[in-house]
Symmetry: C2
Subunit: 199 residues, 2 copies
Amino acid sequence: MTIEFFYDIASSYSYLAATQVDGVGERVGREVVWRPFLLGAVFKATGNQSPAMIAAKGSWMGTDLAQWAEHYEVPFTFNPNFPPNSLRVQRVLASVAANEGQDALRELSMAVYRAHWGDASYDATTEDGFRQALAGTSFDPAELWARAGDPAVKELLKESTNEAIERGAFGAPTFFVGDDMYWGNDRLSLLEAIYARDV
Amino acid sequence: MTIEFFYDIASSYSYLAATQVDGVGERVGREVVWRPFLLGAVFKATGNQSPAMIAAKGSWMGTDLAQWAEHYEVPFTFNPNFPPNSLRVQRVLASVAANEGQDALRELSMAVYRAHWGDASYDATTEDGFRQALAGTSFDPAELWARAGDPAVKELLKESTNEAIERGAFGAPTFFVGDDMYWGNDRLSLLEAIYARDV
């Protein structure tokens, strides 16, 4: 049985989880399937909102994210372009998931994630930022960016988003092991503890 | 330096944390100070709300709480009397914290927690439920319950609640190590990992 990892480039906690989820999968002996979805649409459908919208929670998040990043030993900077509009990037990721497969999806997602939440010196969800994030990779940013206009690609992202909502998702990152849903970067260690029993 | 543990009997995740926090303190070599506060007032002051108010999140919480309880190996049942009105119990706890001290506070809090979120066959925040929860303990439920009407006791609870809000709290459980704030039962393992470095 797989671990499905629903994520959005716009989500800082999903970035943290993205740096760890494959390691968790390896340790519990389960394949991880990366599944881009649109967090904004999930919020809209469920009445949920970004934790940053509560002022006191938003203040605390800065420290919390930094502490997780230190704990994981990964770079992190809260990107001042917040909230970013990740719609086009998420469409591109949905297309890559369907056409190029999981390895390309991971590489592309991490290139954008590292630019947006690791370095954070620009907004990697804009056309310019996306191109900059892919400099030095084998991806063709112009070709990928153009895909986001394709109605079939738009449909792919809608489908994964609606599927996540129907299965109970209300935020990001969200993990599924079969019907079992785990919400939040902070549930990765719980998920690992639970499924470690089976290894 | 101590670990301060702000909690409310009304909070299911605070119950889970209450079963673990002293163990964390022991492992990182820090004294844990239990500090009752009023979660409802914290929500009101910060614009936050119980996660159970978002329907999809509320559905997921049942499974999440059960998984944490299994992970911790503690009894848990989601008490159908939700949300409970914990005002009087929290006042009692504030008085015990100030007058009888930490050992009595832990014993009393855990007796009420075990009744309300472990067994959950009645609402332990009502006068009847409180008496029932303290059966078999050395506490005098009638004397304790009566304290909740004392203006000085009301003030004690207001003070700890306002202090937590001023220090940045927006939910429960909330832990402080000096100025460092950690929110949520799920941050106990992060807190432990961070302060384990110092042991």
